[in-house]
């Protein structure tokens, strides 16, 4: 059950990009093209999964006094590794992501997950949470990138920074609309089952 909630939270119910609104700076800045969005999304996913995993592994070794510096150390080291790897294997991507690749270190989603979950939960749960949250972030980044790249062919605004805010706003609105429909549906299903139960009891008596 916990695992299902974990995945639902990361991908939909508490999606980092659409509900928690974490990591907005890279989300808005690097979503101008689909390729950039995929690149940064994967790099963030990589750092988040490994940081959650390592924070969970060392959770019994750190006390409150050194917890934050150690987590920052871990995240900074992983971000540097991600930067080196992208540089080695996709240099043009490294050039077009520019400063936003090293800035993954300041993405509050990563430190947020370490603080909120990974420092208390066992390895498997933490890693899975990193994967779920990272994938949730990745999917929003990629949808935003695809949306903006597609729209910018007819509307130059979509490629500019204000376009990023508007596009994200539309995505958040869409998410809210679907969410309230879902809630409605869920309530209806529960009401229906109750109705039937009432009728069944009525028939018997």
């Amino acid at each position: 059950m916990k695992v299902v909630t974990l995945w639902l939270d990361g991908l939909w119910d508490r999606n980092p990009g659409l509900i928690q609104l974490l990591g907005l700076c890279p989300l808005l800045a690097v979503s101008n093209t689909l390729e950039n969005a995929i690149g940064l999304g994967l790099a963030t996913l990589f750092v988040l999964v490994l940081s959650n995993a390592s924070v969970s592994l060392i959770r019994h070794l750190v006390d409150d006094a050194i917890r934050l510096p150690v987590f920052v150390l871990v995240i900074a080291a992983l971000t540097t590794c991600a930067e080196l790897l992208v540089q080695a294997f996709d240099y043009p991507l490294y050039q077009s992501l520019g400063i936003f690749l090293p800035l993954i270190v300041t993405n509050c989603l990563i430190l947020g997950r370490a603080e909120a979950l990974a420092r208390r939960e066992p390895f498997v749960i933490s890693t899975m949470d990193g994967l779920a949250q990272g994938l949730g972030f990745f999917l929003v980044l990629v949808s935003l990138g695809a949306l903006r790249e597609w729209a910018s062919e007819t509307l130059i605004l979509a490629a500019l920074p204000p376009g990023a805010f508007i596009a994200l706003g539309l995505l958040v609105a869409l998410h809210q609309a679907i969410q309230s429909k879902l809630k409605h549906l869920r309530a209806k299903v529960i009401a229906d089952t109750k109705d039937r139960r009432v009728r069944t009891t009525g028939d018997i008596s």
Partner: protein
Amino acid sequence: MTLRLAAFGLITSLFVGVIYVITKPLIIEAKEEARIAQLYALAKPLLSKGAIQTPVRKELPSSAPTSLERPLMITPITDSNGQIGSVIPFRSTEGYSGTIQLLIALDQDQRIVGLRAIDHKETPGLGDKIDTRKTDWILSFNGLSYEDLSPNDWAVDKDGGRFDSFTGATITPRAVVNALRDTLSYFNANPELLEVSL
């Protein structure tokens, strides 16, 4: 706990170090490839007539401006009659964050054929307009030679010169224009330094 924190610092540094050593040769190779691709894009107008040769090391006298590396690696472009141009790296340390690496292609009259910022860490949305991926600002230098403008005009408009400084981010274009001016005026005074014997 202090000791433990130090240990964590050591372990993470070690980890980064290992990745660094593994990726280093790959990064050098990727950078070299990107540089050569840039070189071709930069010298395109000259390449219809000539071909890029292997870079030549050139020792510079101590009077050379700080915008030039020592020794300087000049990439000559030649046709059957000899040199028709050169591609020269230069840099500016006056940028907003870190060194801005630039590359310039000159023809034999020292006219600018192409200019690019090949590596920089300037602020996104402000200083990074020197990058051709963001704006065409740096292309506005094409076709100019040092003697076309008076020395005072080789500056951004905020400093009384001819070149557009971006609103809110003067430091970056100023760094580029000043380094370009130093480089061009130096080669204008010492044209023999660009001659490469083949």
